[in-house]
Amino acid sequence: MTSAVERAQTQLRKGVLEYCVLASLRAAPAYGLELATLLGRDRVLLASEGTLYPLLSRLRTQGLVATTWQESTSGPPRRYYELTDDGHAALDAFTATWQPFRDAVDSLLEDPR
């Protein structure tokens, strides 16, 4: 039986996780383990690190991220994920929407009337 907290987390992830992935790539490209560690460290955004990878595949298919190979100092070349122009645009749109959305939710949670 799924707890109410888990259900709420699941619904929220459906809406925002892909934008969290895009946001984590805004500053610089990152490889899979790096992203999984960043997004999964508190188990809030990612239920498990492995679920990141199908999402990354879809983001690449949608043209929001691209992949490149970069040399590694500790092994074979690594596949890096980076934002495309469309990815930057999608992230900008989400960023502009998120603040008023969050304010509206906070407002209702704090004082429904």
């Binding site: 990612l46 690190e49 492995g50 679920t51 990878y53 074979p76």
Partner: protein
Amino acid sequence: MTTDPVTPDGGARTPQSGAALVAQYLDDLERALADADPAERAETVTAVRDHLEDALGTRPPLDDARDVIAGLGPVELIAGAATPFAAAHGSDPRARTTAHGGPTAAAPSGTVVDPTPWTGPDPRFGPPPSTEIPPRLPGVALGLATLSLVTSLAWIVSWPLAIAAIVCAVVHLTRSEKRRGMAWTAIGLGVLSFAVSLVIGLFSGSTVVEETGQGLAVPVVTGDGPAVAGLVVAGSLLPGE
């Protein structure tokens, strides 16, 4: 949260090493993704394999492998986050079955199932187009350019190598933003080598190939200059004078 890998008939297996556990986990993941969109399945399995290699290396201790696999989560959870093949190709996304033919359970909590239709090419007709440039191309170009420069005195060998180096480097530059410095270096060396071999070929002793009485070709140095060299390049055989 961890997954104990099981055989298809449900029997538990007990890997004896970290590498065996990793291999078993990847096998289980591939099976769990049997109903996923094929391109997404291949990409997901590859990415999870990269994750494991980055975290563990090639010969991980069993306990370390267990910890990293626990972080990745059960393969069923990962499969639940993938786009079903039916959804990707326009059928009812709920008409899924497991690898063993049974109905699929509801997506576990914490998964994100995106029903967005797959818009890429059908991977059954070949791998999806990749935007990834093989990182070796600039290295190949530089190697060819260097070899061309080293063999400049043998100008017949050198100039094709220089051309090949330049072509490789230009192809890389038109397709990737990575390692451009190496590609430009290869172009520079290639041009230099081509010029050197050209000068040697034209002015420092043009070579005429002459047929001998035994049917063998031997090089003969003459003073005929560029015109004779051009004939040799074109494959003509001139009698020695």
